[in-house]
Every structure is written in C-alpha cells, then in structure tokens.
Symmetry: C2
Subunit: 492 residues, 2 copies
C-alpha cells in the first residue's frame, strides 16, 4: 500500500474520505447516501458496541428489539417529533413488486399491493416504543423501565459523508420510563456521563458536557444534553445526546401509571443515543497524514508482528520466536497478529498497518533473535525502540496503556488550547476563521440571535456547559445583556 493520503493541511475533508476508504473502514455503496461498513471498520464498531453495552448493563439496562417500521398514524402522534423527522424519512408504500410487462426481465411496483397505511422506516424509535410501553406500564411496579436497542435507522440526509452523516446508520437508542421527573432527569444525566466516560476513556477523545439551546434540541424533547468533541480541523462534533423527554411521549401515547395511592399520572421519559458517527469522530480526532491512530482499548488489532528475513531457514527461526511472543501477549489478553504472509514486503506491511492504525508494531529479524531483542514501534508517536525479549509481554502491556493515555492527553491539550473566550463580534469572526475550535462568548439568550449568528458565521451554539459559571456580559452580536458564556463552534 503506497502512502496516498491527501495531507490534512491540504484538504482536510479529502484526507478524511481517503483515510476511511484506504484504512478499510468503509466503502461507498450503490444506495444513495448509504455506506458499507467493511470488516475492519465493523470490528472497530463491535469493540465500541461491546464496551458500551457492558456499561449500559452495569447501569441496570436491558436490550430489546422493536419494529423497523412505524405506521404513519403512530409517527405523527407526537407532533414536534413528527415535524422534526417528517422531512427526512423513507416511506414504504407497497409490499410487492411484479413483472414489468413492458420491460422484459424488469420489475415494477405492483399497484395492487399498496399499503392501507404507509410505514415510515424508523428515523428514531420513540413513537413505536412508547406505543408499546402503553401496554407494558400500568402500575408504579412496572417502573422504571430501562430498555436499550441496538438497531439501524434511516434519515434521508441530502448531503452525506462516510460515518459522519449517512442515510442509514447503526446506533443504540435507550428509552426509559420513570415515575417521577427527578428520576428521569437523573437518568438523562447518568447516561450522558456514561457516554462521556466511554468517549474519553475508550475512544480517548475529550468531551465537554452541556445542554443544547432550544434551537438545537431533539424534536420532542424538553431538554437535550450532549457531549461535544473537537476535531483536528477545529470543528466540533456532537458525539452523543441524552434527552429528557418530560411527559411528551406519555401524553401522545396515553401512557399512565397508578402510584401507590392508586392515582393515575403520566410517565416521565428519557431517550439517549450514540451511533456509528462516533467512528468518524475517532478518525478525525487522532489520525495523521499516514493513516489512522487508534486507541488500544478499542483497536481491532493491538499488536502486529512483522518478520524480517531472507530465505526459509531464517523464516522458520523467526516464526518460532514470533509465535512464542504471540502466545505471551495473548495470555495478557492482548490481540496480536503474526503477519508472515509472503505477498508483501515488510515496508509495504509497515505502511499498511500504519494506515490501519495498529497501535504497536514489532519487527523481528534473525539478528534481533541473536541479541534477544525486538524492535518496537508505536503508531501514535512513530517512535521506535529496541526492547529485550525478556518480559516483552509486560513491556507491550504497559506501552498499550501508555499509548491510550498519551493519545487522550494530546487530544485534550489540543482541545484545551482551542477554547477561546472572546468579547466582540470581530474577535469572534477572527477566531472562527483563523483558529477554529470552541469559542466562549456571551449571547443574549434568544433564538433569533442564535439564528442570526449561524447565518453570518456558520457557527452554532454547541452547548451551554454543565455547571457553567454565571458571568454578566454583553451579547457579541446584539450587545444585549447576558448572564453566561456559551460555547460556539462550526460543527460536523
């Protein structure tokens, strides 16, 4: 594999697309806006999914599966939610194709197989799930209901990008039901913290936790909590959201419970989700012009061993030692591959594993074996060292932990250097154009001003950080009084 990535400095968007394709994460498909997640990308997603799933289960949630289709009458029941998603939903109208009598070998929609009621392919599942919860919730004893679903959803986006914005994507969506407002709010924040924990400690991407402004809320929510990450080009990316839904869906679907005193009340709800979009965030947060940089804790492959040899005798000698190392590392729970394939030279393999972001590469030659050492290269810093084979397993284990925290620290330093307080519109535009990142600025609190700023600058309010300090100031656009700074950025 030649190093063929466009450089980030040259064209960041092109670098990203090149990288996703060349690292074998995903591919374009024949379906408008949909992608194919390739085996390497899917293995990464499996690791992310499994880690998240363990966290969900550890916090008392169980998985279930609800239908892909939402009948139109259910879809429209919660008005704001319906309004928010109606513009971008795929609609099934027929249930059969038939032979096209005018075009031999072709099929056509059978007009006799029109559905009485159209089915929306779920863009999110609140409607179908709350329509089900109605049958499951009668008494306070049925609460809380803490259910998560791993599923595909479809949103008919006009401009799509691999992982970041695709018409179909994979995600999880938690949907919980509670007896009290307090409990639902607590759940909303708890799951936001689970997401932050996962994104920071597994994906090594630092996030800011906050609340969305009404403009940026999930359609149908009372409040949307979010975690916001920063990419290397200075643009923000919403990495996860947790919604406090109030009683909106309970009212739309008439879901009431009787409390201990037999009084009927509407149920309180939350929903929360992260998606394959996170893979886009992961790629853009860490990687460089040579390829992916993956945090060891979620890398599909943590260590690769490449043999350097001439002739069968050397090959056999190295293989013997390499397989010992493989065994030692596996005993430590480290995933490792010994790549002795003969259809590529070591240099080509090195470049390929760099492209795919394998955190640690061991190169082993006969002289190394004579000296009882191995060359250890780390992907993130591209540094190499010669290490004794005695205790190589312990060395690699520590190195992987070190890489994990080192990647995080680097991203954190970048992120922290890119939160810029400004006090005037000129400063705001200057930072936006020349530095990027989050801009901490005063805003008068109105949707109109927020819209106007977006129009003028393409920047949006990413969030009002949790525990945001109160500070008197003046809106950067209107000069009107403000009580706190909020975080603006251009975003994915």
């Amino acid at each position: 594999m030649a190093k063929e990535l466009t450089a980030r400095a040259e064209d960041y968007a092109q670098w990203y697309n090149d990288l996703v394709i060349k690292a074998n994460l995903a591919d374009y498909s024949a379906v408008r806006g949909c992608m194919v997640i390739k085996p390497y990308g899917y293995a990464l997603w499996e690791n992310m999914r499994d880690a998240l799933d363990r966290m969900f289960k550890a916090t008392g949630h169980v998985n279930a599966y609800f239908p892909l289709f939402v009948p139109k009458s259910l879809f429209e029941a919660e008005e704001k939610n319906a309004e928010g998603f109606a513009k971008e939903c795929a609609v099934v109208t027929h249930y059969r194709l038939k032979t096209d009598t005018e075009k031999p070998g072709k099929l056509m929609v059978d007009p006799d197989a029109k559905l009485e009621e159209e089915l929306v392919v779920r863009p999110t599942s609140e409607a179908i799930i709350w329509n089900t919860y109605k049958n499951w919730i009668q008494s306070y004893r049925d609460l809380p209901l803490l259910i998560n679903q791993w599923a595909n959803v479809v949103r008919w986006e006009m401009r799509t990008r691999l992982f970041l914005r695709t018409a179909e994507f994979l995600w999880q969506e938690g949907h919980t039901a509670h007896a009290t407002k307090e409990e639902a709010l607590e759940e909303t924040v708890k799951m936001l913290n689970v997401y932050a924990d996962f994104v920071e400690n597994w994906m090594a991407v630092p996030v800011i936790k906050g609340v969305k402004t009404p403009n940026e809320r999930f359609a149908g929510a009372e409040d949307t909590y979010c975690i916001e990450a920063l990419m290397q080009d200075g643009k923000a990316l919403q990495a996860g959201t947790s919604h406090f839904l109030g009683q909106n869906f309970a009212k739309a679907f008439d879901v009431k419970f009787s409390d201990k005193e037999n009084k009927l009340s509407y149920v309180w709800a939350t929903s929360w989700g992260v998606s394959t979009r996170l893979i886009g965030a992961l790629v853009m947060a860490h990687s460089d012009d040579d390829g992916l940089i993956l945090p060891p804790k979620i890398a599909p492959l943590q260590v690769v061993i490449v043999p350097i040899y001439k002739g069968d005798e050397q090959k056999a000698l190295i293989a013997e030692k390499a397989l010992q190392i493989v065994h030692q590392l596996q005993q430590k729970g480290i995933s490792v591959k010994f790549d002795d394939s003969e259809n590529a030279r070591p240099g080509w393999k090195f470049a390929q594993y760099e492209m795919q972001g394998v955190p640690v590469r061991l190169a082993l030659g006969v002289r190394d074996i004579e000296n009882n050492v191995v060359e250890v290269a780390r992907r993130d810093t591209k540094t190499k060292e010669t290490v004794s084979l005695n205790g190589i397993d312990v060395h690699v284990e520590k190195l992987l932990a070190n890489i994990q925290s080192s990647i995080y620290e680097k991203a954190l330093a970048y992120r922290n250097a890119h939160i810029t307080p400004v006090n005037t519109w000129n400063e705001f535009m200057d930072v936006l154009e020349n530095k990027g990142g989050f801009i901490s600025a005063h805003w008068d609190g109105t949707s109109e001003t927020e819209e106007k700023i977006k129009e003028l600058s393409k920047a949006t309010i990413r969030c009002i950080p949790l525990n945001n300090p109160k500070e008197a100031g003046q809106c950067i656009l209107t000069g009107k009084p403000s009580t706190q700074r909020v975080l603006f950025a251009r975003a994915y």
Copy 2:
C-alpha cells in the same frame, strides 16, 4: 403469575402463542406481522448470537454491514432470486412526509419526494453484497472472501406467527466468495455443520442434515443444504440453510477474478443463514404445559435462588447465605439471581421461573440453613432434591451439564421414534395423520409428484439426508422406480 397456558394436547398452536407471550419472550406490535422482542427474549437471542458469532469467527469469518435498501435495478439482476422475493418485499417509494393540508395534525406522503428508483427493503442481501464484491474482488489474492452480517430483513409474509414467521426478523447471513467450485461446496457443507453443531450442542435440538429438492431450493441457489428439526407436535422445522450459489450471482453482477495465470473466471459463491426463527424452534422442541424449558448453555438466567422466610430476621439470615451461594456460583461462571423481591410470594415466583424456563431453582429457608442444605429443583424434569451446601457450586455446575444433555437426549429419543419408513400411500397418510414426524419414503424424483404429494397431504420433502443410502423402490404416489428414500413431513 397463574399457570394459564393452554395445554399442548388441547391446542398446540395456542399453547405456543400463550407461552411466547407469558414467558416474556416477545409481544405483538402495532405493525402488521412485526413483533417486539422483549428483554428476556432478546437476552436469549444475544446468547445464541454470541455463540454462533464465536463459531463463525473460529472458522475464519469476519463481520461487516451492508445497506438495508436494495435499489430495484440491483434487486432484479439475478433473475431467479428476484422472482423468488418480488412477491413479498416492502418497497420504499418516497423520502419525505409533509403536512396534510386537509387534515390538521396529520402527515401525508409528499408527492414531490418520489424516488427516481424504488428501494427494496432487503429480504436477503445477495444482490447488494455481490454488487459490492464486484469492487472488492480482482485477483485470486482477494479470495476467499468470508463475510457474515448480523441484520434485520423484511419479507412481507401474509400469515405471520411470533418468531416462526414475521414480516421483519433478525438473522445472520454469511456471503462467501471462492476461486473454485470445490472450495465453495466445501464452505457450504462446513457452515451446515456449524449450524448443526450449534443447534444440537447449544440449543439441544437434534437435527437431520440434508439437501433440498429443486422445488424447495433458495431462489438463486444451485443447491440448498439444510438442517431439519422436529417439534413436539410432529411437525418439522427448517432450522438453518446453507446455499451453494454456483456462479449465478457472479454472473449477474459480473464478478470475475484473475487467477495465477492471469486468466479471468467468475467467482463461486455461498450464502447461509439462521434467524430468530430458531427461538420458535427452541420453544417448541422442549417446553411443556408449565412453560419454557431452556438448555442451560443459552438460558438468559441459569439459576434462581428463592428465599422462604417469615419476618426480617429470617430474611437477613437467608440473604447472607444466599449471597454466599451467588458468589460461589458466579465464580464458576454460572449466571444466578437471588430473588428477594417482596412483591410476590415464593409460590408465585416458582411458577414464574418455571414459565420462563430457568433451568435450576434453589429454595432456601431457615431450617435448610440449620441443616446446611438447600432444595434444588430442576425445571426440565420437575424433580427436587435436598442437597448439602458444601460444594453446592460443584453440584449445580454438574446439574446444569446434566440438564443440557438430558434435554437433548429426550428430544433425540422423540425425534428418532418419529422417523417412520413407509412403502405405500395409505401407510404414508396414516402415519402423517396419526403419528406425525418424518416419513421416510420412496419418491420418483420429479417436481410434479412432489407438488402432487404436497397438494394431497400438505407434506413436503424436508430433505434428502446427507449420505443417504441408495435403495431401489417404488414411489409411494406414482409407483415409478426410485433409487432412494427421502424425508417427508408437514412443516412450519
């Protein structure tokens, strides 16, 4: 929970539906033919999926994800496959809803958002996958390609039943590409064996491996291999299929590879799948009039401990001991729940766990603790014994293994007692009506006769068993010469 199941002897179909609902495996949904898989049912599916996934990976397969939608032009490319699925596919024709100006608060399909090309919701993914493989396969070095996908698919069935036949279902579909016919055939049989291994050794359901007749083949396959199981009502159930697709899809999508001599050839293909239908098979193979009977290796919960007490003092005493047992069992990797909830009495809990098929129940009272014993009840045989608390973990571990094999042996004995050789049409109908099960009979080998037998008896040829002995005979219907017996049955 009262014991409210319809008895099997009374109405087997109703017993099944009752059981699926009351055991909390699944629920009906607002979407025609689609079901909700409830948390307990989904936990069962997760265990099945994880076991299968490990088997697929151990045989060199990797997972990936392909789009939900198949553009009509791709769908129709492989003619037989298209013909087979056209009659039952959901079709997306529009990508937007808009406000219905005539009905306030209602939405309607936006006629301005009609797709140029209709999208079929995948009923199976050969078309979309082979259209992708075209870009991934150039040389023999790209082969074999051994990919599996876990996904939802939609087939617009007219008569649906929970798990057994639903419009949307979850499944896995393997799609492999090979350089030679021999290798593809080997893969087809290998995956059939993986399925048989899983269904027999994890689900404890014995199966017969065989090949389908041309009538019963997967649309687009050259040969369909299958595993057939027998339910307690004497009906057969196809539990998994593995298809040798020949070069049909390679030709339809023009997928060629250059071999070592640079000669271009079409690629050889297989596909294989099992689905949530297996849960239906599991339920019907083992369960009784009191509820589910689950094999320990895939049961969501293997052991439950129910305390029997009066007053807080006894409760505390029992809880202490119970938690010790929980810890001991967990150390052995056994999943266990201590159910000390106060909103149900022990008898109610017993019935509930019987309904849900928890393999082992421990009941613990103060006198048991005084005597250092516990009452151990096994779900499958409904037998109880009093067992010393010393080494209770080892006892339970052995018991679980014993239950696993005992359930299998029981199903095997039933199955073996229900393979009946017959030589005349009268015998055939007699066995079919009065005994059920598989009928081993001669058939003249023609599709016409097969169709006729189906019409007359509602029985189909389930398979020609692998390694079927040759035997001269006469077709039970036509009297024409036959070279081997095949297995008939009425089937789900």
